[in-house]
C-alpha cells in the first residue's frame, strides 16, 4: 500500500495527540476527504475576500479609480465576504448567494485581466517594451489572483456541510440521480484532487510571475525575494505530478505546498517590516502601505500553498 497522506496524518495524530485533539484532527481529515467542509470553506472565502478586497481597494486607489470598472472588484469582494459569512450559517445561502456572487467575481477577474493587459498595451511603448511596461503597468495577473477567493467560494457552494457526513441519503440520492461521472457529484464527495492540483499549478504560475517581476523591480535587494520565484516551478511541478500520480499528490505536493504557505507567511512579515521601515514608518500607515511593498501580495502566494495542501487532503476523481 503506497503512502497516503490522510492515513498517515490520522495515525500520527492518534499516536501523538491526546484524545480530544486527535479525534478532532481525524474528523477534520474525514470531513475533507468526504467533501463535507462547506462551512469551513465559506469562512475561509469570507476571510480571503476581505484581504483581497483591501488589496484591490488600495491598489486601485493608487490608480485613482481612473476607470469606473475599477470599483467592481472592491464592491464584489465585499459582497463575496458577506456571502461567505452567510454561507457559514445557511445552507441555502451557500448554494445560491455564494454561488452567484462567486461566479460574478470570477467573471470580474477575467474582465480585469483583459483591462490590465490593455493597460500594459496602452503605456508608452506598449508591448514593444514588455519588461518595463509589465513592471510599471497594472499588475497583469493580479485580477486572476483576486479571483482565488471567488473560485474557493464556487467550490464551497457545491460541497456538503459538515453535519452531512453521516447522512448517506444525500450522497446516495445525488449519485443515483446523476451517475458517477458527474462533476457535481464528485465535488460533493470530495473527489476533486486532480482538478484542484491543476488549479494550484495555474495559480502558482500567476503569483510566481507576479513575484518575479515585482521583485525584479526592486532588483532582488533581499535574498529572500528569490524564494517565491524558486518555489514556483517546484510547486508547479508538484502540481502537475499530482495530476498524473496519486503518489505525488500525497508526498511532493503537500511538502512543497507547505513550503509555499510558510514562504507566503514569511513574505507577509517581510512586507510588513518593509512598510514599517519606510521613512515615517507606522506614523504614516496609509501612505507607506500604498507606496511600500504590497502587504497582501505574499498571502496570495500563500494561497497557492493552501490550494495545494487542500488538494493533497482530498480524494481523487474516479475517472
Amino acid at each position: 500500500m503506497s503512502f497516503v497522506l490522510t492515513t498517515a496524518l490520522e495515525r500520527s495524530a492518534n499516536w501523538n495527540l491526546p484524545q480530544p485533539l486527535s479525534a478532532g484532527v481525524t474528523s477534520v481529515l474525514e470531513h475533507m476527504r468526504e467533501g463535507c467542509f462547506q462551512r469551513s470553506l465559506c469562512f475561509i472565502v469570507a476571510a480571503t475576500s476581505v484581504a483581497s478586497g483591501l488589496e484591490v481597494g488600495y491598489e486601485h486607489y493608487k490608480g485613482s479609480y481612473s476607470n469606473p470598472v475599477m470599483y467592481t472588484p472592491v464592491a464584489l469582494s465585499g459582497a463575496l465576504a458577506g456571502a461567505g459569512l452567510a454561507g457559514v450559517f445557511s445552507r441555502v445561502a451557500a448554494r445560491t448567494i455564494l454561488r452567484w456572487t462567486s461566479l460574478a467575481t470570477l467573471a470580474d477577474g477575467l474582465v480585469g485581466f483583459f483591462f490590465h493587459v490593455r493597460g500594459v498595451a496602452r503605456k508608452p511603448g506598449g508591448w514593444g517594451l514588455p519588461v518595463n511596461n509589465i513592471v510599471m503597468g497594472p499588475p497583469i495577473f493580479a485580477p486572476l489572483l483576486f479571483a482565488t477567493s471567488a473560485y474557493l467560494g464556487l467550490l464551497a457552494s457545491y460541497l456538503r456541510r459538515e453535519e452531512d457526513l453521516h447522512r448517506p441519503t444525500v450522497q446516495l440520492q445525488s449519485s443515483v440521480n446523476s451517475g458517477k461521472s458527474d462533476w457535481r457529484a464528485e465535488l460533493r464527495a470530495g473527489r476533486f484532487q486532480k482538478h484542484l492540483s491543476t488549479v494550484t499549478v495555474l495559480w502558482a504560475l500567476f503569483s510566481g510571475f507576479e513575484a518575479l517581476y515585482s521583485h525584479y523591480k526592486t532588483n532582488f535587494r533581499y535574498k529572500a525575494q528569490w524564494t517565491p520565484v524558486l518555489l514556483t516551478p517546484l510547486l508547479m511541478a508538484a502540481g502537475i505530478g499530482a495530476v498524473k500520480s496519486r503518489r505525488f499528490a500525497n508526498t511532493a505536493l503537500p511538502a512543497v505546498s507547505a513550503l509555499a504557505l510558510a514562504d507566503g507567511a514569511a513574505g507577509f512579515y517581510y512586507h510588513a517590516r518593509g512598510i514599517a521601515r519606510r521613512p515615517g514608518g507606522l506614523k504614516k500607515p496609509m501612505y507607506n502601505t500604498l507606496h511600500g511593498p504590497p502587504i497582501f501580495a505574499p498571502l496570495l502566494f500563500a494561497a497557492c500553498g493552501f490550494l495545494g495542501l487542500m488538494a493533497s487532503l482530498l480524494r481523487r476523481e474516479k475517472r
Binding site: 508608452p124 511603448g125 510599471m136 532588483n219 535587494r221
Partner: protein
C-alpha cells in the same frame, strides 16, 4: 610642436588606448535605442551620423575656434574617429542664429560675440608670442585661455572693452558643454541612459540601478604634465564664478 598633450594612466598607457573614456567599460547608450520612439531615435542618430558643415565661420575663424575648443574640452582621451564634434554644432547654431531667448545688456549678439572673441584671441597671441594662436604650443594656448578664464586678459586687448570677458567665457563654456554632452558617445562616457521616453525608470527607490545601468569601474589617471588648470584648482575669481559652481572647473 605637440598639438595634444595626453592624459596618462598611472598603471602605464594613455587613456585613449581604452576602448572609450570614462568609467563604464563596454557601456553603449546607442545599444538601447530600441526603447526610444521613432523621432527620438532619429534625433540621436543624426547627432552621430550627420555632422553639420562649417557654414558660419570662415576657414581661418574655424581653425582658431577649433584650437580653442580643443583646449577647453580636450578629447585627447578619445580615438580620432570617436571625437565628438563641438565646433560644427556651435557653427550650426550661429548659422541658424538660434539663440537662447535672452541676452545680457552688456553683451553683443552671439554671432558678433564669437567673431569679436576670435579676433581678440588672435591679436593676444600675436602680441604675446608673435605667432598665430593655432601655431602656438599647447601650453602657450592655455596661458592665453587661462587669462580669459580668470577674467584678466593677458596681454590686455582693446577688443575686450566691447564685451565682458567672463560673460563670453560662460557663453563659450555652455556651447562646448552642450555640444559635447548631447552626443551619445559622451553618454557612454558618463553612463547616462539617454532619452527616458517611452521606457522611463522602474527602480524608483533606494538608489537601485536600472537594469541597463552599468557599475562604475574607477581607475586612476594623471592629468597632462603641462596642464595649467591643475595649478590653481580654485583659481577662478569670485565675480565670474557661476552660482552652479562650474566656474572653477575649467
Amino acid at each position: 610642436m605637440s598639438r595634444k598633450s595626453f592624459p596618462l594612466r598611472p598603471s602605464g598607457g594613455e587613456l585613449r588606448d581604452l576602448d572609450k573614456p570614462g568609467y563604464y567599460r563596454g557601456y553603449s547608450t546607442l545599444a538601447q535605442k530600441r526603447s526610444w520612439d521613432e523621432a527620438t531615435q532619429r534625433a540621436v542618430r543624426e547627432r552621430v551620423e550627420k555632422t553639420p558643415p562649417i557654414r558660419f565661420f570662415s576657414p581661418e575663424e574655424a581653425d582658431l575656434l577649433g584650437a580653442v575648443i580643443d583646449r577647453i574640452v580636450p578629447q585627447d582621451d578619445r580615438a580620432e574617429e570617436r571625437t565628438i564634434p563641438i565646433l560644427p554644432v556651435l557653427d550650426e547654431r550661429l548659422f541658424k542664429n538660434s539663440l537662447e531667448g535672452f541676452r545680457y545688456e552688456d553683451m553683443p549678439p552671439d554671432r558678433d560675440a564669437y567673431r569679436l572673441a576670435i579676433k581678440a584671441i588672435e591679436e593676444m597671441a600675436r602680441a604675446r608670442f608673435r605667432k598665430s594662436f593655432v601655431d602656438l604650443t599647447v601650453q602657450r594656448q592655455e596661458l592665453i585661455l587661462k587669462s580669459l578664464h580668470d577674467g584678466k586678459p593677458d596681454p590686455e586687448n582693446a577688443l575686450w572693452r566691447n564685451m565682458p570677458v567672463h560673460r563670453f567665457w560662460t557663453l563659450l563654456m555652455e556651447d562646448c558643454v552642450t555640444a559635447y554632452y548631447s552626443h551619445p558617445w559622451a553618454w557612454d562616457e558618463i553612463g547616462f541612459g539617454g532619452p527616458a521616453y517611452p521606457r522611463g525608470y522602474m527602480r524608483l527607490e533606494h538608489g537601485l540601478p536600472e537594469p541597463w545601468e552599468k557599475d562604475e569601474e574607477r581607475y586612476k589617471w594623471n592629468a597632462p604634465v603641462d596642464s595649467l588648470s591643475q595649478l590653481e584648482p580654485e583659481g577662478a575669481s569670485p565675480e565670474h564664478r557661476s552660482p552652479q559652481g562650474h566656474g572653477g572647473t575649467h
